[in-house]
């Protein structure tokens, strides 16, 4: 038991250290690297909490795809604050000599000239420190104070699983017990995509993401982009298929597919799609649409919205989940590539 405790202790310390690094690093890129590493280790922590499904989601979405979004942003934004007072020399503010940017200033250079703001800033920092310290202390106290088993809905969630042909309780909760949440979550993803697309300039509406076409790379990147996606597709379908019994699911599989697609785009083997094209629009919509239709089909049976008729429940769930896998993959990928930035 003690060996487990030591391993867990190291894991927890690593997590906290990386989180501190991700907030304290002067350099945005360094912070994002720390965040991705943090997400990876968090997946390990979820494994230790006996939540394999969550661990897969955290690794694929929380760390992998979110990391891709943040890396892309960190590279397109200035490393520290671009807000330079007119008299300051930009060269002095962002020395170019150090490769890793070790010499970059920690705070906005303009602040040094404004003592009043420094005072205000210190007060804000102190107040924020007190507030977050208080929140942490309260939560830590709660964790230490309540040690007994918590109220559990495990039995309720398990009750109807055999009728659905599912043996993974988490999949059961996602697809049946709280299927409404899962449906809404697809809608949230779609709305986020609509939001991201709406940020395009009018002149490039319906065009392609990225300011310019990514040229084919050649070499090892191309090799990876050719080698990995077939494996990734197998893994994604496998994750969806085993989700009836073991950790896995449409989201986890979809995130893997999205990562593989982005890999191909990054290597320049394919161009990002026209966001206005009919194919893209249909692919994005088909999964949620089928889910919604299946939900309404529930009205044909006594149980109502999002209920599955006995006997065909498993077939229906598979029928819903495979189009969802495709739609989720495309939505996640398009959320990473961002709005259109060049003409159709």
């Amino acid at each position: 038991m003690s060996a487990t405790l030591v391993a867990d202790g190291v894991l927890v310390l690593l997590l906290l250290g990386l989180a501190l690094r991700a907030t304290a690093a002067a350099d945005a890129f360094a912070a994002v690297v720390a965040f991705v590493a943090f997400g990876l280790l968090l997946a390990l922590a979820w494994m230790r909490l006996h939540a394999g499904d969550v661990a897969l989601t955290e690794a694929a979405i929380g760390s992998g795809v979110t990391g891709a979004v943040l890396v892309a942003a960190a590279m397109r934004l200035p490393p520290t604050l671009p807000h330079i007072p007119p008299e300051a020399d930009p060269e002095a503010a962002f020395p170019k000599a150090m490769p890793g940017g070790a010499a970059r200033p920690e705070v906005m250079p303009g602040w040094a000239a404004r003592p009043k703001v420094i005072l205000g800033e210190a007060a804000i920092r102190l107040a924020a420190l007190l507030l977050s310290g208080l929140v942490t202390a309260c939560l830590a106290g709660l964790v230490l104070w309540t040690t007994g088993p918590s109220h559990s809905q495990a039995a309720t969630a398990l009750r109807h699983l055999p009728e659905l042909g599912l043996y993974n309780a988490v999949t059961g909760v996602l697809m049946a017990y709280r299927g409404f949440d899962t449906l809404m979550e697809k809608i949230v993803l779609l709305l986020a995509l609509v939001g991201v697309w709406s940020l395009a300039r009018d002149t490039v509406w319906g065009g392609r993401p990225f300011p310019a076409a990514i040229p084919a790379q050649g070499g090892a990147v191309t090799l990876i982009a050719r080698l990995l996606p077939p494996i990734g597709i197998v893994v994604a379908v496998y994750l969806l298929w085993v989700s009836a019994e073991e950790p896995g699911g449409a989201f986890q599989g979809g995130a893997i597919l999205a990562a593989m697609w982005l890999l191909v785009l990054l290597a320049g083997l394919r161009q990002a799609p026209l966001l206005g094209s009919r194919l893209v629009r249909w692919t994005v919509a088909v999964g949620p649409a089928i889910f919604l239709a299946a939900g309404f089909a529930g009205f044909a049976f006594p149980a109502g919205f999002l209920s599955y008729p006995p006997g065909v429940a498993k077939a229906m769930i598979i029928l819903i989940e495979f189009p969802l896998l495709l739609s989720i993959a495309v939505i996640l990928g398009l959320l990473v590539t961002g709005p259109a930035e060049r003409r159709p």
Partner: protein
């Protein structure tokens, strides 16, 4: 729980893998420049993880579990080798123009833009 030869094989291989991780970490910290550090990293990547996966094979619960372990091993071997190559090329290109710093001046072709 497990047969003695299997346990012995696991112990030896996992220990060897851990040793490579230790060596890789020491190299990553102590070696003087990016290329040599990459060399150290690739040892932990390929040999460290490879030996540990091989060592865990006798402990796998089922044949399909063992096959999955083998798949992971193959994947990490290929991926580790190619990723190391990609990084080495990026470091090389980023560092090569005289007087240019890798992360700033050569932004139009190498490594990150």
């Amino acid at each position: 729980m497990t047969a003695l030869p299997a346990a012995l094989a696991t112990a030896v291989l996992v220990t060897a893998g851990v040793v490579f991780f230790v060596a890789g970490t020491v190299g990553l910290l102590r070696f003087p420049d990016a290329m040599t550090r990459l060399h150290a990293l690739s040892k932990a990547d390929n040999l460290g993880l490879g030996l540990i996966v091989l060592g865990l094979l006798p402990q796998a619960a089922s044949v399909s579990g063992a096959l999955k372990l083998l798949a992971i091993w193959l994947l990490t071997q290929v991926a580790g080798a190619t990723v190391t190559q990609v990084m080495a090329r990026a470091i090389w290109r980023g560092a090569s123009p005289p007087g240019a710093s890798p992360s700033h001046a050569s932004s139009s072709e190498a490594p990150r833009s």
